[in-house]
């Protein structure tokens, strides 16, 4: 049986169950810590570092750090927000993100975070990597230009018998997500839809579904990302 422990985020007294990660505990207390690679219900990896917080003065990824009694977490401070913004900017320049024509626009978490952190122009030079679009799978199209290698699809999309549908292939700058070509029918329409849904950017696209949600009704059209948590 879990027990409640007390800790602080930005000086505010918070309560959480033992074993909860800082990100989850913050949500329960109505505090938003930005995330990109993290998804509810799937083991965290701490790969994007957008959720970096100061725990008792030391930088830690909030999605992989469990809360402890008396812990002092610093979250919404200028120093951290600038680091988070720099990470978001780095993700933009490292790929080819053309929001104006992207069907994920308005539902994209990377774009939503860029708006939340008021990114006007990246501080880093654009890389403009040459990447392709893989349209070989009958259910989805992978646009590697937009992939931020967060591994959400690899960690969350599994067949009924627990096999991963997605995996990394290649190395270094060529690293990209790949669909297991031998899965066949095990990669169902439902799994394909879930993969497109959990992708934080527009790297996994369902065929012939783009732009079906009108502007004004998309996830982040009305309020900035995290507003739902802060209203709690």
């Amino acid at each position: 049986m879990s027990t409640l422990i007390k800790f602080k985020i930005d000086g505010v007294e918070c309560m959480a169950e033992t074993g909860a990660y800082v990100v989850e505990a913050a949500v329960e207390n109505g505090i938003f810590i930005p995330t990109l690679c993290n998804i509810k219900g799937v083991k965290p990896r701490g790969s994007c570092r957008v959720c970096t917080v100061l725990v008792n003065g030391r930088p830690m990824s909030a999605c992989t750090t469990p809360v402890a009694s008396g812990m002092e977490v610093e979250n919404n401070i200028a120093e951290l927000n600038d680091i988070r913004k720099a990470i978001i900017e780095a993700l933009f320049v490292e790929g080819n993100h053309f929001c104006p024509s992207c069907e994920k626009s308005g539902n994209c978490e990377l774009q939503a975070l860029a708006y939340r952190f008021q990114m006007m122009v990246p501080r880093f030079p654009f890389d403009f990597p040459v990447r392709d679009i893989d349209a070989s799978n009958p259910k989805i199209i992978k646009d590697h230009n937009r992939c931020i290698l967060c591994k959400r699809c690899i960690r969350a999309i599994k067949t009924e018998d627990g096999k991963s549908v997605f995996a990394f292939k290649k190395r270094g700058r060529q690293l990209e997500i790949n669909v297991d070509p031998d899965l066949g029918e095990l990669f169902t329409d439902e799994l394909a839809a879930k993969a497109a849904e959990i992708c934080p950017v527009g790297a996994i696209l369902l065929r012939e579904k783009g732009y079906e949600i009108p502007i004004g009704q998309r996830k982040f059209d009305k309020e900035p990302i995290g507003s739902d948590i802060e209203k709690k």
């Binding site: 199209i141 012939e208 783009g210 502007i215 004004g216």
Partner: protein, 483 residues
């Protein structure tokens, strides 16, 4: 040695271009050319993208009439997803798109007349350039300037209600539309507080037509003779010959009014239209195959549409159309400055069409998309504010675009604009020792009448010829290479 005059940039047009005028030793105009100096490349970089992206991606060609590109691409994709052309869509799908399009015609025509063209008419072609602009109009003719701004705003609000955004929306999707019009949105346009309601907009559009007719009466020589020249005219018309800006069949007439193309399904446009490339401009020169390069060029846009259509299916615009037609005894009108007259008649027609559509309950329907048997190729054609716009796509069996061909309205008007600048330069400059600013503005006025969108018109990549000539010190040609 002869003299070369360059007008760069051309002002009060969409995009960037320049005109060069070559004078001979006696100071006579030898040759005038309109050069398009910017370069886009959409036909190339849309390749490989998922086909449903085209209406959203390609509309980025332009910020003035992106709706035209959005809808032309969507119409081409309707064919690809098996929804057919025009009539294949659900009533809500087709009428929402029509509302979007007429909203756009309304705002674009208002923008052109009030913001871009009216300073020449109100102050005179050779007036002080410091006043000859939209700020000058706002100072000296406040009511007219306010009308222009509000009419544009009204059209933009219609676009927002149908496409989601005033500029670069996402409303049209392959096979239909992604939203209907709510009762609240409809009532805003029908009963909005003065002046933001459709009845006021129609009144103002009528007033704009009346203003032009009065101006014409007082300035007959300028309006009738300035940049007037014979040409062919091409546009879509409804099957029964009515003006239809969203859908129809291709019709072209010659300078005497004889139909040289009629009832042509635009899916077959390549059998009738070809594009010529000339080394000195990024903009191509389309022409009708049957007639050939020399004489097969044609005009598109409001003047061409008023020449090809037999009637306008809304009462106030029809009344004005009859007056317009009577002025040339029913013959084709070849006077470039009458483009403004025709544009304002279309402004009025668009207002009436918006009202008719707003009162149609189909706009509140929920059946938004149609799909059928998929094909790998489709052509979409629409009458954009500046004229006939062609979008042609081929896709592979993985849903990626393999080929895109865009023939943009301004491209269709390339040769006519060159003819117009040549004529005006010869008319106003020949025999004068000094070239004045007013003379140069006259050349721009001729271009402006066509409301060109130069950024839209230079979208091709990979097809532009490069010619390099090597001369020795005595000007003898040693070698010539062409890519």
């Amino acid at each position: 040695m002869g003299q070369k005059i360059t007008i760069e940039p051309i002002t009060r047009v969409e995009g960037h271009g320049k005109v060069t005028i070559h004078l001979d030793l006696k100071g006579n105009v030898n040759q005038t050319r309109l050069h398009i100096v910017e370069f886009r490349g959409f036909e190339r970089f849309v390749q490989g993208r998922p086909y449903w992206e085209a209406p959203v991606l390609v509309q980025r060609l332009c910020g003035i009439c992106p709706v035209s590109h959005h809808l032309a691409a969507a119409k081409a994709l309707d064919v690809i997803v098996g929804a057919g052309t025009g009539e294949g869509l659900t009533p809500t799908g087709e009428k929402m798109r029509r509302l979007m399009h007429y909203g756009q015609m309304f705002q674009s025509h208002a923008l052109h007349f009030f913001h871009l063209a009216s300073p020449d008419l109100l102050f005179g072609i050779d007036s002080d350039p410091l006043m000859r602009n939209v700020i000058g109009v706002a100072i000296m003719h406040k009511d007219l300037a306010v009308q222009g701004v509000m009419m544009r705003k009204f059209g933009q609000e219609i676009i927002k209600a149908t496409a989601g955004k005033k500029i670069h929306g996402t409303g049209a999707i392959p096979g239909g539309i992604n939203k209907n019009l709510s009762i609240e949105e409809r009532d805003t346009f029908l009963n909005g507080a003065d002046p933001m309601n459709i009845d006021k907009m129609i009144d103002w559009a009528q007033a704009a037509v009346d203003f032009f007719k009065e101006y014409h009466k007082q300035n007959k020589s300028l309006i009738d003779n300035f940049a007037a020249f014979p040409s062919n005219h091409l546009s879509l018309v409804r099957k029964d010959g009515a003006m239809d800006l969203y859908h129809g069949v291709l019709r072209a007439i010659d300078t005497d009014g004889k139909k040289i193309l009629d009832d042509v399904d635009y899916q077959d446009y390549l059998e009738y239209i070809d594009e010529e490339v000339r080394a000195w401009s990024y903009m191509k020169f389309p022409y009708l195959y049957k007639i050939g390069r020399e004489n097969g060029w044609y005009r598109v846009g409001p003047l061409a549409r008023c020449n090809t259509a037999e009637f306008i299916p809304t009462p106030l615009a029809q009344k004005e159309f009859e007056i317009f037609k009577a002025y040339t005894n029913g013959k084709p009108n070849n006077m470039s400055m009458h483009m403004h007259w025709a544009r304002l008649i279309e402004l009025l027609h668009s207002g009436e069409m918006i009202k008719e559509l707003l009162n149609d309950p189909d706009l509140q329907g929920n059946d938004l998309v149609t799909k059928g048997t998929k094909t790998n190729e489709g052509v979409g054609v629409i009458e954009a504010p500046r004229g006939t716009l062609f979008h042609h796509y081929k896709i592979n069996d993985r849903d990626q675009i393999e080929m895109a061909n865009l023939i943009v309205s301004t491209t269709n008007n390339n040769e006519p604009m060159n003819v117009a600048v040549n004529k005006v330069a010869k008319d106003v400059m020949t025999g004068h020792k000094k070239i004045t600013e007013g003379m140069m503005n006259a050349v721009e006025v001729a271009i402006r009448a066509y409301d060109p969108c130069l950024s839209c018109a230079t979208h091709a990549l990979g097809q532009m010829p490069l010619e390099i000539s090597l001369y020795d010190a005595h000007n003898n040609l040693l070698d010539k290479k062409r890519s």
